[in-house]
């Protein structure tokens, strides 16, 4: 036990004395605060934001657009559209000249056979059909539609769907549904998934590089003369885990504080305030996920002769964590309690990341996180024991090349 503590202390001290560690640990929250402060300031200060938008998007273009109506469909421009936004031209040549003169920025041509072909031609000097503020083509299409329907404004809108839909949910548990129109509701589960992926991957690959480096430089040989492989493994896992936990708490705390502050600065709806329970579950899932992946990585480090060969196998090990990332911007937002999200969050190897994404989306039944945590804990115990048996002096000292197959065999104790 005493020797384990020595290993543990040594790992923590070595890690904490590395400048690059502090750069990442403190750099990310500081960056987040800076960006947050800047955006908040810009929201209040319009002159600064206009200078910025000038740099990023060029001088604002408020010049009108023109149209040439060869089909004779447009009779009137509705009053809701500001005067001068759409200018009529008799033919294409005069519209073209107006663009060259700069009095309009672009023009539409409604061909004679428009009703048959449905083609509208949009002529623009810089061609860009996706220019910002390109909502104008929707505006023109609306004008056209209103005129085709004999000036009936309401009918022209209703053709696109109802103006307003009142949603009534009869669901037994009032699942908290996020507002789909707000970009933050997409960003939140996505951000949490990404954060957990990086946290678990970052801290467990520390273990891989640590073990394989000591193996490569033969420090391991010296160490193993005075302590058992299991003591070494335990000391390393706990030591690096504590540091990783510190990072997790720091990052999650920053995220939590920023999310709650943002409610004040950006006046977000109340649902966005993350519940405090997410931090507690975050810590639980980090510890368990870390235990699983760090042991897997340590086992890899023990078997691989050097870091370069080990990193080829890393991908296979990390795959269960990467899969939830694929879905993070889709399934976990649109259907956080659907079959795919639930399966991913229950399967132990993908659970640490997937469960956190679901918790951030909200509406997870109360009994699921404890159940998943229990499953994950059982898995962690098995994997730690399997890896401990891999940590034999023989394996640690050999220089045999690593293959995925041999790794899996060793894990299964063959």
């Amino acid at each position: 036990m005493k020797k384990t503590t020595i290993v543990l202390k040594n790992e923590i001290i070595t890690l904490l004395s590395r400048p690059s560690f502090w750069l990442v640990t403190l750099g990310i929250p500081i960056m987040a605060w800076l960006v947050f402060g800047l955006v908040g300031r810009l929201n209040q200060n319009s002159s600064a934001s206009s200078i910025l938008s000038n740099i990023f998007s060029g001088p604002a273009e408020l010049r009108p657009e023109g149209y040439v109506d060869l089909a004779g469909l447009i009779k009137t421009i509705p009053q809701s559209i500001p005067a001068g936004t759409l200018v009529q031209f008799a033919d294409e040549t005069s519209a073209r000249n107006a663009v060259v003169r700069g009095s309009i920025v672009a023009f539409y041509v409604v061909p004679k056979d428009y009703l048959k072909s449905g083609q509208l031609i949009y002529v623009r000097s810089d061609f860009n059909p996706l220019a910002s503020g390109g909502g104008q083509s929707a505006l023109f299409q609306r004008v056209l539609r209103i005129n085709m329907l004999g000036g009936n404004l309401l009918l022209a809108s209703l053709v696109n769907g109802p103006l307003k839909v009142q949603e009534v949910s009869l669901a037994p548990t009032a699942a908290q549904s996020l507002d789909n129109t707000n970009p933050l509701s997409f960003l939140l589960p996505y951000g949490v998934t990404l954060l957990f992926y990086f946290l678990i991957m970052g801290s467990s690959s520390l273990l891989l590089s640590n073990v394989s480096k000591e193996k490569e430089t033969r420090v391991m040989e010296t160490l193993l003369t005075s302590l058992t492989p299991t003591q070494l493994l335990t000391g390393k896992i706990i030591g690096l885990g504590l540091v990783g936990l510190l990072q997790t708490i720091l990052w999650l705390g920053t995220g939590y504080a920023l999310m709650n502050l943002s409610g004040k600065v950006f006046t977000l709806p109340f649902q966005f305030h993350l519940p405090i329970s997410i931090i507690i579950w975050g810590i639980v899932f980090f510890i368990l996920g870390y235990a699983v992946y760090a042991s897997l990585m340590a086992g890899l480090g023990a078997l691989a002769p050097n870091l370069r060969e080990a990193s080829q196998v890393t991908f296979v090990i990390m795959l269960p964590l990467i899969i939830p990332l694929f879905f993070s911007s889709s399934v976990f937002v649109t259907d956080p309690n659907g079959p795919i999200a639930t399966t991913l969050s229950i399967f132990p190897l993908s659970a640490p990341v997937a469960m956190m994404a679901r918790l951030a989306s909200g509406g997870v039944p109360w009994w699921q996180p404890p159940l998943v945590a229990l499953l994950l804990a059982v898995t962690a115990v098995f994997i730690v024991r399997a890896v401990a048996s891999m940590f034999r002096a023989q394996a640690l000292l050999s220089g045999q090349p690593i293959k995925i197959k041999s790794y899996l065999q060793a894990l299964l104790g063959r």
Binding site: N54, I55, F56, S57, G58, R96, V99, V100, Y114, L115, K116, S117, G118, Q119, L120, I121, Y122, V123, R124, S125, D126, F127, N128, P129, L130, A131, S132, S137, Q141, R145, M148, L149, L154, L155, S157, L158, V159, N160, G161, P162, L163, K164, V165, Q166, E167, V168, S169, L170, A171, S177, R308, Q312, F326, F327, S330, V331, T334, D335, G338, I340
Partner: protein
């Protein structure tokens, strides 16, 4: 010159014929297939073919016209009329319908709907119901107009001089083609660059380099390596192109938006005058990193110094597409490294002035020459040092030139 070729040939064979290279070659199309499959899976998850009910109090759907045909991969959702809300609610609770819409008597005046569900209605059935409403709203409108409104418009964007034209029918897919191509190019650039760096570090570490340099000059050696690196990258790109062309041939019969793909000559020019110099520059930087560091692992960290600027335009992609001629976009397309992706993004959405292409190309070429010079210098200085990193100050100091 002969020796340069020998180095290049050796380097090329050593990397291309390995299992790792072939794995990289095949994994990209493999992952693309998986990704496309995932996208289809996600789209199909938005389907729900359980009937959708409605209670019509406005008389709009008294004698409904059938809902319009549904295009694949969407599946049609049947609609069921209910005379009153109570029966609809019963059906919902019995699980016969996924939800129901209530159309109030004043719908045509106020445009408000109510929807009742136990689980939110997915976007595909919701959109189908709106189309169903639309077709019935337009029942009394002249048929030529109603067909037009239901079918929707096709916007054809055209530049003022008529040199570029693109249709909205494919969801502006053509605009993103150059971006996808550029990203593939950059990935190939970095994988082959990574090989180069590793080769240099390895040969330095195991002292092979000392032996080689007894019979060849450092400059010949460096040139050979960089040349081989570019060939490896191009091999990779060529192989991917073959995959993509075969894929398009197979898929174009079933996926309509792939049919209209055309590669403009300007795109090819950009590849030659901007992406190729950038490639040379990145290779030289990789060799430079290999010569500077003492371990391959350290080199990995330093690669991010080169890859970060390359990917900056990707992070700003929305901004550049929205405002392709803004000061930021123009500046990024002039700076070496960032220019490659920025130019390709802008090429899709706007007409690039010739002077910008020329200037950006010249800057890239100058950058590439400078990078090669720097790499050669670092190479001469760092060659005989083991376990000690070369500092930037040493590379740039004048004394080092004669060493």
């Amino acid at each position: 010159m002969n020796k340069t070729w020998q180095v290049a040939l050796h380097e090329y064979q050593r990397h291309v014929l390995t299992r790792r290279f072939l794995f990289g070659l095949f994994s990209v199309p493999f992952f693309m297939v998986i990704l496309v499959g995932l996208i289809f899976l996600i789209i199909s998850m938005n389907n729900n073919t359980t009937p959708l009910g409605y209670v019509d109090r406005s008389g709009l759907l008294a004698h409904p016209l059938p809902a319009p045909q549904v295009k694949l991969p969407d599946k049609p959702t049947p609609f069921r009329a209910f005379s009153d809300e109570a029966t609809a609610r019963q059906a919902l609770q019995a699980g016969e319908i996924q939800g129901y819409y209530v159309i109030p008597a004043d719908y045509l005046a106020a445009g408000r709907l109510q929807v009742v569900f136990t689980k939110a209605i997915k976007s595909v059935p919701r959109q189908q119901f709106y189309h169903f409403l639309e077709i019935n709203l337009l029942a009394n409108v002249e048929s030529s107009i109603s067909t037009r409104l239901i079918a929707g418009d096709e916007i054809i964007a055209r530049s003022l001089d008529g040199s570029r034209e693109m249709s909205s029918r494919n969801g502006w897919f053509g605009l993103f083609l150059p971006i996808i191509a550029a990203i593939g190019f950059i990935i190939a650039m970095f994988t082959s660059g990574g090989y180069l760096m590793q080769a240099v570090v390895e040969e330095k570490e195991n002292r092979t380099m000392e032996v080689i340099l007894t019979s060849i000059s450092p400059n010949q050696f460096m040139t050979g390596k960089i040349f081989a690196d570019i060939c490896i990258g191009l091999t990779q790109i060529f192989a991917w192109l073959v995959f993509i062309i075969v894929g398009i041939r197979i898929a174009s019969s079933s996926i309509s938006f792939l049919q209209g793909i055309q590669v403009s000559p300007q795109l090819l020019i950009l590849f030659v005058v901007i992406l190729m110099p950038t490639f040379v520059m990145v290779s030289a930087f990789m060799a430079l990193i290999g010569a500077t560091v003492s371990e391959a692992r350290e080199g990995q960290q330093m690669i991010s110094l080169v890859s970060l600027p390359i990917w900056i335009p990707y992070m700003l992609i929305g901004l550049i597409i929205g405002n392709p001629n803004s000061p930021v976009a123009v500046t990024l397309s002039m700076l070496p490294l960032t220019s490659s992706l920025t130019m390709l993004i802008r090429q899709g959405v706007t007409i690039l002035p010739a002077w910008q292409i020329a200037l950006s190309s010249i800057i890239s070429v100058v950058g590439a020459v400078f990078a090669i010079w720097l790499a050669g210098r670092a190479f001469r200085l760092g060659m005989l040092r083991y376990g000690k990193r070369l500092t930037w100050r040493e590379i740039f100091s004048r004394r080092g030139g004669t060493a």
